[in-house]
Subunit: 196 residues, 2 copies
């Protein structure tokens, strides 16, 4: 149970993370100075360095928070859907929903080059959430829902279209709201991998 100054603390920490997410995705990590972060978050230099070791530490906290959140959401999807078809469809819906409601989160996941400033991290497509998506596809093949073939090929073809159109949305080159594309992308993508 947080005391009042712990609440204030977590709130300051949270403000920094929120500001950093915005600035890192809008201007890029290297174009964002600590002065930008302290200024926009209204948290002083000293406090920022109290909560985070350094600038990279802010990015790392953001990155791991994001991975954890995605893992939790994917686990929920795996639990509450029986078929691989329904699981994968739910994943694509989730991706579109996050891109729509929290574009910075999606940009940080898909669009930001983490390894340039988090050299210790593995590429995001070998992170646990992406592995869980591949596991869903593998299960679809074992259950006879998805044509049996290399799991990287099937995963790339099943989710590649969605990722591309979400990237287009983040680049601002889509005419209509993103969610209007979901059904059509799903139909095409599933047709690419489903058993004939």
């Amino acid at each position: 149970m947080p005391t009042s100054h712990q609440q204030r603390s977590t709130s300051a920490r949270y403000q920094v993370l929120l500001t950093a997410l915005q600035l890192f995705t809008r201007k890029g990590y290297f174009n964002t100075s600590m002065r930008d972060i302290t200024g926009q978050s209204a948290v002083s230099t000293g406090s920022v360095y109290h909560y985070f070791k350094d600038k990279e530490g802010i990015a790392a906290a953001l990155f791991h928070g994001l991975i954890d959140r995605m893992r939790a959401e994917l686990q929920q999807i795996m639990r509450s859907n029986e078929t691989a078809h329904d699981q994968c469809r739910a994943v694509m819906t989730l991706l579109f929903r996050i891109a729509d409601a929290e574009p910075e989160v999606m940009a940080f996941m898909l669009y930001v080059k983490h390894r340039e400033f988090l050299p210790a991290e593995r590429p995001i497509c070998s992170s646990e959430p992406f592995e869980m998506m591949r596991a869903m596809v593998q299960r679809g093949m074992d259950r006879g829902e998805i044509e049996r073939q290399d799991v990287m090929v099937a995963s790339s073809c099943l989710f590649g279209g969605a990722i591309r159109i979400i990237t287009s949305e983040l680049d601002g080159i889509l005419d209509r709201p993103l969610n209007e594309y979901l059904d059509a992308v799903w139909v095409c993508s599933w047709r690419a991998v489903a058993v004939r």
Copy 2:
């Protein structure tokens, strides 16, 4: 016809571009200092600034050279293939070939966040080569080869799988050589958009 010192000049300029391409894709634009470039290319600071206005100018020259090259290759493909099917298949083959033979070129095209250091440029997916790919898809719909629907959806689903697996290759998470995936990716991707 180049004189001897023009050859030396273009060679120095070329060395800088070659070095910059390697360093920008390996370490990232912001992690590459002008000292890195002068050191590895063995071209002095003064000469680099003789050929390029500033560091951003090097990146811009690289970027525009790449766009021009891709436009030329895509035009060649459009001329020498009759059906949209054959054109799109040739494009995918080209992408795999470049990723295999010149991974830095593909990384600079797909993987580098140009807008972080070239703020004036439009996102690469609204650049002319990407527009040409969408034009091929549109033509496939007009010819009755591709199911008629939103061109962004069809393009994303047709090329999204290839782009994803190429990105995976650049991240080093593929088991087998990239070219072994081409046929399977093409079959899935075409099935996603072809008329039934």
